[in-house]
Every structure is written in structure tokens, then in C-alpha cells.
């Protein structure tokens, strides 16, 4: 005998959206119960690329955790990187020189622009507009070239050190930065012309995957996704770090919390980031002293060429690499405004060479659980758009 429940189940068709669907970045599985083309229920499964970062961190000395953080949100890895170093600096009580703080701001805003460029252009792709994607990826390429100048890597940057930066910005780097900042506004304008008032784009995105402010807060949303719903929460303003309190910028907010608002908030944030970078460069120019790290030999890993030529540096290098530097006991939480929201590091140190416990507050992991609710009752194509506009980054979701 067939029960009522079974009949009800039979009415729906089951659709696996992902994990090998191009729009699901290869790792998000969503089992959708469909009534025709309407999504009745969704169940996300995550964990396909889980790499045990928190466990790994318990075996690694503090300076070796940087590469782990790079792989969290790999679209804007320098932000994670800086966030981690600031956490350790807070614990160790290290005062960072102003110039280094401004340089960090430049790097972090650059990363935010890269992150938002990818997200917004992918929203375009998912509505069928490939052009914008191709335009702005050239800009992202320029950002990656700047990263390359700063640290030698492009995607998994290892920019920071505990106590400052690995090296100063080179002349070429400043030139590339200037070129990028001169050219970005034009490209952004063009990109906005392409999509912002585009009839198809607006029809597809307005009212797509909305979430109300109250619900977003209950689900622990932060970053552009929360701001699109109308809450002006930004870690850079609420709990300033790295001298963000000295910069003039506004927090763009939306009203409906739908895909269009998320797109617009990110778009405006890029303009704000650009303005922050301009101010930071001005501030850096005013400081004559070319310092790029704090004077903390106990924590700051010295450059290789100095290690080879100076006894002092060799000793400190050895101490740091062997994990003999004492990071004080204590527990600390530090949050930065990542590309997707509040990225927090909760760290317990027992005075040993590795953290006793390290917990990452990964914004993607926290807000992705709202996804079934956001796409309920919408069309399949809207579910794809909602996912790309939420900017779920696999590395952060599954850490």
C-alpha cells in the first residue's frame, strides 16, 4: 500500500544540482526537490574538499600557519593572511608601525577588489553575460601582477609576516599599482554600463534569492550579503584594525537583500576600496622612514640574505623556525572584514610552539546554511544566480 507521504514524495522530481555542475564550483551538492521548475526543498551537502585546517594548525608553528589561511578564501587570500598575523600580533602585544599598517590596508583593499570583481562578473556570467567577465578578469590579472611584485605568488599569497611585511613594495610595484588605479575606474564604469541598467540583468536579479535583514542576522550573515539586506555592519568601521579608523569611506547598503542588491553593494564597495587605497597611498608617501616591519626580532622572520650574513639574524631565524619563540599564553579573537564578511580567528595559546586551538570563523560556512531558505519556491535558474551572488567560496566553506 502506498502511503500519502509516498505519493507526496512521488510528485516531486529529485534533481542533483552539483557537485559537478559548473555553477557549483565543483563541490557543492544540492539535492533539490522540484515541482516542475519550482524548487520545493533543497538540501545542501558540503565537505567535499575538507582539509582539516584547524587540526593542521595545531601542529604548525605560528609563522607556518600563513599558507593555511591563504587557502581559506582564495579569491582574496591577503586579507586572511593579514587577519591571521594581526591575531598573533594582538596576542604577543606587538605594535605595528603606521607605514606598515597603511601598506597592509592597500594590500587588503586590493584583495577586496579582486574578490568582488570575480563575484560580480560571475553573476554576469550566470545571467548569460560573458562580456563583463572577460573585461574585468583583465583587471584581476593586474591585481595578481601586483601581488606577484609584493610577494612572488599570485593566488596563494604569502604577503605577511608576524610583525609586518616580508619585504617593502618595490618601485615596479608602486608603478603597477598606480597604473591599475588609473585604469580600474574606466573598466568599472564600462562594466556598470553593461549590467546595472540592463533590462535582462535587472529582470533576472531583482527579487531573486532575497533575504530580509532580520533573517540574515539570525543566520549570522556578515559582509556584503548582510549589507545588501540593509544592515550597515562592517568590521572595518565597528572594530577598526590596521588604522582603518583614519580613512574616509561609506558603507554601501541595499534594501531588499536580493541578488541585484548584493551586486550593487559589491560594486559600490569597489569604488570605496579604490578611495581607501588612494588615501592610504597618500599617507604612505608622507612617511619618510621606509620601514616595512616592526622591530621585533623575536617574532619577525628575518630576510634570507640577512640570515646568511649576520649572526644575530641567523640566531633569530633559527629560534623562530624551530619554534622556540615564546608566544604568550592566552586566548584571543580577532576579526577582519574579509571579502565575504567577518573573518575571525579564535586562538588559544598554551605558550607552546604551536597554537593549542585555532578556530576560524568562516563567513561562507555560516551563511551558506541559509541557502535552502533563500531559493525555496524559486526557479532553478534563480538558484544558480543566488549561489553566485552569495559569493560562496569553497575553500572557506569546507576548511
Amino acid at each position: 500500500m502506498i502511503t500519502d507521504k509516498e505519493i507526496k514524495e512521488k510528485d516531486y522530481s529529485i534533481l542533483n544540482l552539483g557537485p559537478t555542475h559548473p555553477a557549483t564550483h565543483g563541490i557543492f551538492q544540492n539535492v533539490l526537490k522540484m515541482d516542475g521548475e519550482i524548487i520545493m526543498e533543497a538540501e545542501p551537502t558540503v565537505g567535499y574538499i575538507h582539509r582539516a585546517f584547524e587540526k593542521l594548525a595545531e601542529r604548525r608553528p605560528y609563522n607556518q600557519i600563513t599558507p593555511i589561511t591563504d587557502r581559506l578564501n582564495y579569491c582574496s587570500s591577503p586579507i586572511n593572511n593579514m587577519g591571521w598575523h594581526m591575531t598573533v600580533e594582538k596576542l604577543a602585544g606587538i605594535e605595528i608601525p603606521k607605514r606598515v599598517q597603511y601598506l597592509r590596508v592597500i594590500i587588503m583593499e586590493l584583495a577586496r577588489i579582486a574578490d568582488h570583481l570575480v563575484c560580480n562578473s560571475v553573476i554576469g556570467v550566470d545571467t548569460g553575460a560573458m562580456t563583463g567577465f572577460l573585461y574585468v578578469f583583465q583587471e584581476r590579472e593586474k591585481i595578481y601582477e601586483i601581488y606577484e611584485e609584493i610577494c612572488g605568488a599570485r593566488l596563494t599569497t604569502n604577503v605577511g609576516r608576524i610583525g609586518g611585511l616580508e619585504r617593502d613594495f618595490s618601485e615596479t610595484c608602486w608603478k603597477k599599482l598606480e597604473k591599475f588605479m588609473n585604469e580600474l575606474p574606466g573598466v568599472l564604469k564600462e562594466f556598470e554600463n553593461l549590467l546595472m541598467r540592463n533590462r535582462i540583468f535587472m529582470d533576472r536579479t531583482i527579487g531573486c534569492g532575497p533575504i530580509a535583514a532580520e533573517r540574515a542576522l539570525q543566520y549570522g550573515f556578515t559582509g556584503p550579503n548582510l549589507r545588501a539586506a540593509g544592515v550597515d555592519y562592517d568590521v572595518r568601521v565597528m572594530n577598526p584594525y590596521s588604522s582603518y579608523e583614519e580613512f574616509d569611506f561609506i558603507i554601501p547598503v541595499g534594501t531588499n537583500g536580493d541578488t541585484y542588491d548584493r551586486f550593487m553593494v559589491r560594486q559600490q564597495e569597489m569604488w570605496e576600496s579604490l578611495s581607501i587605497m588612494k588615501q592610504a597611498i597618500e599617507k604612505v608617501k608622507q612617511i619618510k622612514d621606509k620601514v616595512y616591519h616592526a622591530d621585533v626580532p623575536d617574532f619577525y622572520l628575518p630576510p634570507k640574505e640577512v640570515v646568511y650574513s649576520s649572526m644575530e639574524a641567523l640566531i633569530y631565524h633559527f629560534k623562530i623556525v624551530m619554534g622556540e619563540t615564546v608566544i604568550p599564553k592566552g586566548e584571543v579573537y580577532h576579526a577582519v572584514e574579509g571579502g565575504n564578511g567577518e573573518l575571525g580567528f579564535y586562538l588559544i595559546s598554551d605558550g607552546g610552539r604551536t597554537p593549542y586551538r585555532l578556530h576560524f570563523r568562516r563567513p561562507c560556512f555560516i551563511y551558506y546554511q541559509a541557502y535552502p531558505e533563500m531559493i525555496k519556491g524559486s526557479m532553478l535558474s534563480d538558484a544558480i544566480l543566488t549561489m553566485s551572488s552569495m559569493n560562496v567560496i569553497a575553500g572557506e566553506l569546507d576548511a
Binding site: 565537505g47 582539516a52 587540526k55 602585544g93 565597528m238 577598526p240 592566552g330 588559544i348 610552539r353
Partner: protein
């Protein structure tokens, strides 16, 4: 920014003390965070009070995670909740500890929907049983796994290896 301002700590502590008495085990300032250790039995009520009380209004659960101290007899496991009152920009941390023999704690998903996946993660990695959780199963590891890998007894490297001698390196 490290602040040593402890006014928030004392205000919240007094409030909790009058409401819950002995359930508040300690109150300390850790860098810029007031930290309260509370008893497990009252943890849920305390979080509910902090969320709903008109003066505190900690309505945003920033994060939560499990702490494991195998040497701390009788209190091997702990849960840390971090709350945020966004309009006033107050942040506090609530911790509660319990024994490894009974790793169950009431869920807070009824207060904060966002705790759903967070609790599933802690169950997955530490085996904490959240009583009343609507859907407590593994989230990042595979379902067939029969242990909880973040516990301290599972070393990341194979301890039986003999080709590495770390004695001289203070490890």
C-alpha cells in the same frame, strides 16, 4: 585594538550574578573580550537571557567552537560561544566546561538559527551531543567515520614513526 576597558565586564557580570547566582563561575577580561565561564546546566538559559534582556540584547551569535583539554580532569570538554550586540558593538564570550563522560549540552538553535551548522561541525569533530538539535549529523567528514578527529588524542602525525627524531628540537 587591545582595550583594557573592563566596564562592560563588570556590568554584564553584575547582571548575570543577580539573575543566575552561582551558575556564573568566573568573569575575566581577555584582551578586548569579557569572558564568562558558566555552568553547563544554565548555559542555555544564560544565552537566552543575554539575547532577550532589554539591556544586553546580544542577538548575534558570531561563532562557537569546542575546546578540548584532556588533562583537565572532570572538565575535559568546553564550548565557547561568542555573542555580539551589534548596535552597541559589545562583544562577549561565554564558556562552559563539562566532563568527557557526558558530552551533551542543550542546543542553542532555538535561539540562534545560525548555530545549526556550527553545532553540527562541533559534533562532527568533537562528538559533542547537542540535545534538541533538529538535525545532528556529520557535516564536513564522511558519515561512515566512527571517531571525532579534532580530539586531542588523535595526533596529526603518526607517533609510531621512528625515522624522525625530534628530541633535539624541543618538540
Amino acid at each position: 585594538m587591545t582595550t583594557t576597558d573592563t566596564t562592560l565586564l563588570t556590568t554584564i557580570h553584575e547582571k548575570l550574578k543577580t539573575q543566575f547566582g552561582d551558575a556564573i563561575i568566573s568573569a575575566e577580561q581577555h584582551y578586548d573580550f569579557p569572558v564568562f565561564v558558566v555552568s553547563r546546566e544554565k548555559a542555555h538559559d544564560i544565552l537566552q537571557f543575554l539575547k532577550e534582556n532589554a539591556d544586553t540584547q546580544f542577538q548575534f551569535l558570531t561563532t562557537m567552537c569546542t575546546l578540548h583539554f584532556p588533562d583537565n580532569e572532570g572538565q575535559e570538554f568546553g564550548i565557547m560561544y561568542q555573542l555580539h550586540n551589534m548596535p552597541k558593538n559589545w562583544r562577549i564570550r561565554i564558556k562552559t566546561f563539562f566532563s568527557k563522560n557526558d558530552t551533551s549540552i542543550p542546543t542553542v538553535t532555538d535561539l540562534f538559527p545560525t548555530a545549526n551548522w556550527m553545532e553540527r561541525q562541533e559534533y562532527d569533530f568533537f562528538g559533542i551531543q547537542f540535545k534538541g538539535h533538529p538535525d545532528l549529523r556529520r557535516i564536513l567528514n564522511m558519515d561512515e567515520m566512527n571517531y571525532h578527529p579534532m580530539r586531542k588524542e588523535y595526533a596529526l602525525e603518526d607517533d609510531t614513526r621512528t625515522d624522525k627524531n625530534d628530541k633535539m628540537f624541543g618538540r
